[in-house]
Symmetry: none
Subunit: 236 residues, 4 copies
């Protein structure tokens, strides 16, 4: 929990800092505003996000009270509303930050062996599983909240669509290079594989006998077979 999220409520409400349209005499003021208090302000905001993250994990979204969050962040109750118009918005901020962390972790790592397609796939799946394990509780809460909140639902749908599109591109790319022979309906296949991955990651969290190796091996095998991925990278 450390990256500053760009979805501050000031932007949403289309109100400039200071709450009015800058009208000209305010060049100085604006310049100051950009620096002034930013340090303190940002740290309070981040403290609230971090506290909210922890409280949500412990109590769930619906049972978490704003008062729990501010207590843990060690700020006054009212200060919460300086940064977030409601409980919803902190949750959104927490989710956004976790989303960034996940995206970074899932992205291809430089140490992936060139040419070892199968190995790369397994490593990618393993990274995915690992980061999902780390944030499993928050991800489960997103499901919980999405059922009752359209905005969160949209975020979630968008994230999934992005994931599916990425997998689809990967599959096409492998097919182009002659490394795989997927069937025609790449989109549906990608969707099914993404579902398998995310859902199994979710369930694994609840499994006391969870073994990362076993799961990533099995998932990668199904995946590879689904698109007829050649075990040996032919071009190497």
């Amino acid at each position: 929990m450390s990256i500053k999220s760009g979805t501050g409520n000031a932007e949403e409400k289309r109100i400039t800092r200071g709450g009015h349209i800058a009208t000209g005499t305010s060049a100085e003021r604006r310049a100051k505003t950009a620096k002034n208090g930013t340090q303190r302000s940002a740290s309070t905001r981040q403290a609230l996000i971090d506290a909210a993250h922890d409280v949500f994990i412990e109590m769930g979204y619906f049972d978490a009270r704003v008062s729990d969050i501010v207590k843990r962040a060690d700020v006054a109750h009212g200060s919460f509303y300086t940064y977030f118009p409601s409980k919803r918005e902190v949750f959104q901020a927490v989710v956004d930050q976790v989303g960034v962390l996940i995206a970074n972790a899932v992205a291809t790592q430089p140490d992936d062996a060139r040419g070892d397609v199968y190995g790369n796939l397994e490593r990618a799946n393993r990274r995915y599983l690992r980061v999902h394990h780390q944030h499993s509780r928050i991800l489960a809460l997103v499901e919980q909240v999405a059922t009752a909140d359209d905005e969160i639902q949209k975020t979630r749908l968008a994230a999934r669509a992005k994931h599916v599109a990425r997998i689809e591109r990967t599959i096409s790319h492998l097919a182009d290079r002659g490394l795989a022979e997927p069937d025609d309906d790449t989109h549906t296949t990608a969707g099914a594989l993404v579902s398998m991955l995310s859902s199994f990651a979710h369930w694994s969290t609840l499994d006391p006998d969870y073994d990362e190796d076993r799961v990533s091996v099995a998932l990668t095998r199904i995946w590879a077979r689904a698109i007829k991925l050649r075990r040996q990278s032919a071009t190497t």
Copy 2:
């Protein structure tokens, strides 16, 4: 704090939400009702379950109020507690009923063609998809509530374990008959396939371009490849 433990807490402290000291009056009545259920009481109970089902679908679990349910069931507010000790119990009852419907629909149907393993598999998947679509909202709510309620969570885990075990048996059976060549880790494979199926069914619900044919074909293909199912049933 889960819903259940929250309720338990209130009981421990003998401070009820209604602001009265619990003297067990409606609890006693409920106990009686459960035993000598008359014609009328049964129908009122069912009316409440049906109403709850609809209200939960429209408003979600957390936003649904007991008053909405009794209103729709055309029953007095107080009567609700003659049949259910709390809101979570009606939800449980709704889920149980839906669970039975799903189980019946998914069970092998007598009209499955003998010997056509692949076809049977696809038909089974199709049935699964269809019934999941019918009850998608309730199933999503189960996810939602499970995150905050341990009892529901257990029900859900049990249902999944049963499903996985069934798939595992199916795979073993096919392997025994020489119709498939699954790898050693049948359990993990079965888990991954169940995840794929349930998760994709869930997401498909939200897809405006959902096409049952396309999805069941794709899912069955991945599934078949995962266990190296022979396309033609050789032994028949």
Copy 3:
């Protein structure tokens, strides 16, 4: 504070008692509802109105808290909302009841001497002054709230319009009987006289040297001169 007001919120919200459209099996239920609980319900409602009346007088509208009202009515905080959707609505109910009391008090009394037009006018003014004194605080609060609440403002405008219309009719009637010679603009004259009466009644409340006799004499004199009322009733 005793007359039941007809502006219950159930009617406003267009929701029938029970919160649903009666659909046929409910003949019994409806019959019952009309009798059942009405006694208790009405008394609680009236207790709340009476308590609100007193609290508003002591604290003013904006400083009065719902908790003060329920405390004085000796009912639970939540019960308030069984009868009124908000603080606004109790205020409306209080004002409506006071409005009825004032209307009754101002209406022509049977003991008015026949033919003594001037005396009748003075007696009417005196009754008006007296009842305004009794309810001066509530009437002042209506002014206070009307500035911030359109609904109350409308009620107030309507009440004034009615009063002006009544005075206008009275003046025309006197003119028809040859007892007065008002100028042509009866409407404006009536408005001015009503303003004089209500405003002076209001200010008198704040005057430690207030003397009902002196004020009613002076007001009646101005009034009589304004419409050239004959001192002696010519027709008697």
Copy 4:
């Protein structure tokens, strides 16, 4: 609990709304400001008063927030308290300024025709009506606030007393010159006429068919008749 006593109470208890122990910092600054008012501080103060004036008109006293005022004045939130100890003081300042404007407008104008008593009276009434129309909203707010704030109430009572006294003097003066024959109770008559004027001016504001001519003619007629003012100035 009036606004003023509410504030006083907080100070007594040394528990301020801002949750800090009052140490007098901005109070001290305010004291300084009051003495060596620089060019800038004077203009900032005036900007706040102007902004407050507009905000109060738009939102009313109770709904107006200090933050709205500073926003419109383009001043930092904290700076408000450099110039005013509280919200009620800006209101007082606004009212005082409006009071001066009204007093100036109502004062006898040099172009009043000598000797035409009736005409002068009508012109004075007309000026009164016009300026009341201009400031009707603020004047209504004074009523609103006075009901909850003793200090404002006193200001208002004093203003009225002054007005009544002035009218009383005018009447006596006319009587002395033989231009009118008021009855003995000049004080009450003056009070009634002032009430009529101010109240009718207030109500006229809300009348879509308001016509200055008609109203000032009617008011002046009633007034003249009330003190038996001679229509023609006989002595000139």
